[in-house]
Symmetry: C2
DNA sequence: CTCCGTGCAAACGATTTGCACTATG
DNA sequence: CATAGTGCAAATCGTTTGCACGGAG
């Protein structure tokens, strides 16, 4: 099964990259609909899945929430805002956790790990100061 | 709003603790139903939510999957098996990641982080060796 | 012309909620 | 007794799927 570059696929990929954000399927759907009003949400889901399998985008499974998709394919971690649920990139040196440390613990064979930092983003901090 | 210790709440808490596992709401529902056949799944959900807010149990939001609930309230990380989705506790010294490292990155105020190690559990490793 | 991709609506799995009833404190 | 908690069914949310049609290669 070869990968066809359809109009919708192209727009989805372009808009995600252009956004420089970590969008959910429906956020991206809303954006893409402006260029292509008849596109279906199912198409957005299908393409995000396909594009992430093809390694052209990243898939982010943030705890307990909607999936988000990442324009940036490089290995990196994420931080997300508990208030507005926005997600940003994080660049910690990944060697801070030694692999041996992990292996020893429970007899699992380790395939990777996901580090998810949780906090409040700058703009929500500002709102809180004003609000209270 | 005070917290009443109902029969169902007590059983839910007891069975989760007894299991020593990281159960999902419906797994726990199946167990609890044996003691109390007329209990509803909604009650299990409601109580798990309340108990975790009260700090009596932990809530685990493993990426992209069902929530699981933790009998162990102490601060610790988790490892989960990509094959059978079972979750286990992990005891890494949490100081391996320095807080200053994190704060510097994006202007967020950090409230915590979640480390989720991914791997294959011992029993699934065994099955794979036999299977192939 | 071959199939991969699309739009639509319906199905799905996990979770939540409205409501009238029950039972704890 | 007041009102937190329950069971049930229906609703909701994010996501997936079946199907007939459309368009890329």
């Amino acid at each position: 099964m070869q990968l066809r570059m359809t109009n919708q696929r192209e727009i989805i990929l372009r808009e995600l990259r252009k956004s420089k954000r970590h969008l959910s399927a429906d956020e991206l759907y809303d954006i893409v609909k402006k260029d292509m009003p008849r596109i279906s949400l199912a198409t957005v889901y299908r393409n995000l899945e396909i594009l992430s399998e093809a390694g052209l985008i990243g898939k982010l499974e943030i705890s307990g929430r909607q999936k988000r998709f990442d324009y940036d394919v490089k290995d990196h971690d994420h931080i997300y805002c508990v208030v507005c649920h926005r997600v940003d990139n994080l660049n910690i040196q990944r060697e801070t956790l030694s692999r041996e440390d992990l292996v020893s613990t429970v007899g699992y064979s380790i395939t990777g790990y996901r580090l998810e930092v949780v906090g409040i983003c700058p703009s929500c901090q500002k709102k809180q100061n004003k609000g209270e």
